[in-house]
Symmetry: C2
Subunit: 194 residues, 2 copies
């Protein structure tokens, strides 16, 4: 989930204070602008007259529309496969673990250890596939960094600061990939602003 | 989930017998070709030297690569948003209901009524958003049929033949949209072969 990206074009939710405030209210009741947020959840995005929601559709739009700025982030069907893998396989356990270990403590709520244990096991299965993949290619989509990698960063921020870090570290190619993508200057810039 | 599409390029899983056989084994242990099916699940897809998996990445590849054949299926960022909505919002309850009401009976397994009730409620919330959207646009992505609509067809096949049909029928714009996309000659052709 991208809560805060401060460059052109603007996100509707574009201030760190605002996103912290939304987090405090669990994001679920964020339904002030139903036309922009049909499911009552952030983020939403505006670029001129175009209104978008769903984070992965937004990143794909930015990658295509602003292809001339920065490195290409969408260029092959194989990258697309791994972007789907992130959405369908990685995100479900990663998001639940982020909630339990990253967000709940921030909100003063108790972590559910049974959920953590079950989701850690799910994540480990996904990371086994990643380990095999990353033994043969530098990034998930191939030799170049792409959206398939980028979409992992928001959850990695929380998970690598939690005990789940061990699940990543136990897989050497995964650990090297995580270190690589988290060290990217563009991600460091996002972290510095958030 | 696309089990059977018989046109060029070929799906690796391309026979109805094979897909029925896989269904009988719940699809979960389908790991004979780990390079093609890293998560042990169908479908996988080959086009020349290119190997893909994840159904939505496959459909997007086909839509882009064979754009000259048939109608365009990917043309705007808004279509992409609604394709994400299908993947992130619609599919989780729809897939669970398909399993309970479509696949389990086929395999002689008992339906879990509690799961059906809970997932029907989830689906209803998603279809409320669809109803509002489809009151203003003929298809989810806009005035033209796109992948965002197409991806619903595999689960609709089962759900419209189950008691969950009532959840769709209670929403007039949703019901008209379902009737429209299910009547498309291309989908009828798939059904006739499967």
């Amino acid at each position: 989930m991208f809560l805060h990206l401060r460059f052109q074009p603007d996100l509707v939710v574009s201030s760190a204070d605002k996103s912290r405030d939304i987090f405090k209210h669990h994001d679920l009741a964020f339904s002030g602008w139903p036309a922009l947020y049909p499911f009552g959840q952030i983020p939403a995005f505006q670029d001129g007259d175009l209104n978008l929601f769903e984070s992965r559709a937004i990143t794909r739009y930015i990658a295509h529309s602003y292809a001339g700025k920065g490195i290409p982030l969408v260029s092959s069907a194989v990258e697309d496969v791994w972007a789907e893998v992130e959405a369908q396989r990685y995100e479900p356990p990663a998001a639940k673990l982020t909630w339990e270990l990253g967000i709940k403590p921030m909100l003063g709520m108790a972590t559910d250890d049974d959920v953590v244990k079950a989701q850690e096991a799910e994540l480990a299965k996904v990371l086994d596939v990643y380990e095999a993949r990353l033994a043969h290619s530098k990034y998930l989509g191939g030799e170049a960094f792409s959206l398939a990698d980028l979409h992992h960063l928001p959850t990695l921020k929380y998970l690598m600061a939690s005990p789940v870090k061990a699940v990543f570290d136990a897989r050497p190619h995964v650990a090297a990939w995580v270190a690589d993508i988290m060290a990217r200057p563009s991600w460091q810039k996002v972290l510095a602003e958030y």
